[in-house]
């Protein structure tokens, strides 16, 4: 009886250790996924930047370049085919970036999701839906040519953060996640482009 109990305890210990290891590895990702994602996926897609402000426009383009670089240079996602190229066409572009002057609201970037019906009518939906295209809006009201706040790098961070939403990521708001792009608050997060964590979120979402 005693030997049997010892044997059972040994099996339990090994199982517990294996389970622990598996769960720890799985839970290492801080990313939080939306229910919906881009219907067309992330392989060879296009983005459109419709900003009159040249500096903000450049930051948006850089944000996409950084996303491409991050996903294309992570071993697990290297072969995904993830690529967003700038397009001169509004329609057909999966992600579109705009800027608008909205005073007195205290948000700097916003993401809106749309689906198209068979007659190409656009319907706005929330992040629970798979979407045909996404608008990322930067609030031009807070654009300051002196770059006291947000700085140029922070504008890029805001654009990259909104692109993260467009791709299907939600905020990560644990205090330990301040180094992640999807941490809410450009003034408190340190990341200005996608980290490995966000890249793995995209991997889980689209692979």
């Amino acid at each position: 009886m005693k030997t049997q109990f010892k044997h059972f305890r040994r099996i339990f210990t090994v199982t517990a250790a294996l389970l622990t290891a598996a769960i720890v590895i799985n839970s290492a990702g801080a990313y939080v996924l939306q229910i919906g994602k881009l219907k067309k996926g992330v392989v060879n897609q296009t983005f459109y930047v419709g900003l009159d402000n040249q500096t903000l426009s450049a930051q948006c383009v850089q944000a996409f370049t950084d996303w491409n670089y991050a996903v294309q240079n992570t071993p697990e996602t290297r072969n995904m085919g993830f690529n967003f190229e700038r397009s001169s066409r509004i329609t057909g572009s999966t992600i579109r970036c705009w800027a608008e002057n909205v005073p007195g609201v205290d948000w700097y970037g916003l993401t809106r999701f749309y689906i198209l019906d068979s007659n190409w009518n656009a319907t706005e939906v929330d992040h629970y839906y798979h979407r045909d295209y996404v608008d990322c809006i930067l609030n031009l009201y807070y654009y300051d040519w002196t770059y006291t706040m947000p700085t140029q790098l922070q504008w890029k961070s805001i654009a990259a953060h909104e692109i993260g939403h467009a791709l299907g990521l939600l905020h990560t708001n644990d205090d330990g996640d301040r180094g992640k792009l999807m941490y809410q608050g450009f003034n408190v997060r340190t990341a200005t482009s996608a980290t490995r964590d966000e890249v793995m979120g995209i991997y889980e979402k689209y692979c």
Partner: protein
């Protein structure tokens, strides 16, 4: 020794399971049809596109390389349609951990609002849709204090109206009667307009962070930004500092709750307002901040 080891392993297992739960369950069957509550809006409502096209034409600035006319040749342009349908409802979607139900009406979801003469205190169970936004997050009440032009306690007297601001975002306007002035030049009993990004709907608000929007009969402590006359087209209105961070709900017992506590994405909490507080404690805390700020100014 073995017993201890087994115990430690079990504890690690338990902790791991808890920490793992923060990664949201993914449901890949995101729904794309059967949308209800569709509202037909005018073609001008596709302004992000139209407006920027205009701007490009006027300024000829940074998008010179973009040929917006050629795109219409092979792909139907959504902006050329005479009607564009817009909805903010997810009524048919089964959402994890959500109490969304299209059959519920306002009274089902907001039973707290039924009692006449009492403060309407929003429920955390209210079905709410979150707008994804990035902002300058205040880390403390002190930071909110310095970011605000006015700080007031007020009663919401009316859900005034909805505005589709420049066809970019929906705004809800509320009338607020000021009960107490803590900072700024507003007067007691004065009525002001408050604007918030989002949409008030019968079956749940659509708002930044999924936090409740202002509703009639609420009593709130608000940290307000500089007034603007742009949102209401000539009429003055005030925005809330830090989106929802500068909003605190009163319950009927005089306790204040930070709107950030309602955020569905587990937003960061204000370091010096980590739990609900009684009004007198909050006011004395703000008073301390006020005195400290005056001392610093000197």
């Amino acid at each position: 020794m073995k017993k201890v080891f087994t115990l430690i392993l079990s504890l690690i297992l338990l902790v791991s399971i808890c920490s793992c739960s923060k990664v949201q369950e993914v449901n890949d069957s995101g729904k794309t049809d059967d949308l209800s509550t569709k509202t037909t809006v005018s073609p001008e409502e596709t302004k992000p596109i139209e407006q920027n096209k205009d701007n490009n034409a006027e300024t000829g600035s940074d998008n010179k390389d973009i040929n917006t006319s050629s795109e219409k040749e092979d792909i139907p342009d959504v902006n050329d349609n005479t009607t564009v349908t817009e909805t903010n409802s997810k009524s048919d979607v089964q959402v994890n951990n959500s109490v969304q139900s299209q059959n519920k009406n306002f009274k089902d979801i907001h039973p707290e609002a039924l009692t006449d003469g009492e403060i309407y205190f929003p429920s955390k169970k209210t079905a709410i849709i979150s707008i994804e936004a990035d902002m300058k997050v205040p880390e403390s009440v002190s930071e909110l204090y310095s970011n605000s032009k006015n700080i007031v306690v007020c009663d919401i007297t009316e859900d005034t109206k909805s505005i589709n601001y420049r066809n970019i975002v929906n705004m809800e306007i509320s009338s607020a009667k000021i009960v107490k002035v803590i900072k700024g030049d507003l007067k007691e009993n004065e009525t002001i307009n408050i604007h918030e990004t989002g949409t008030r709907k019968e079956d749940g608000d659509i708002s930044i962070g999924g936090t409740p929007l202002l509703r009639k009969n609420m009593r709130v402590l608000l940290f307000l930004l500089e007034p603007t006359d742009t949102i209401m087209d000539g009429e003055t209105s005030y925005g809330i500092a830090g989106c929802y961070y500068g909003k605190f709900f009163y319950d009927n017992g005089g306790t204040l709750y930070s709107a950030a506590d309602y955020a569905d994405d587990g937003s960061s909490k204000l370091s010096d307002f980590s739990a609900p507080m009684k009004e007198d404690r909050v006011l004395s805390k703000i008073n301390e901040i006020k005195l400290a700020s005056k001392a610093t100014d000197k």
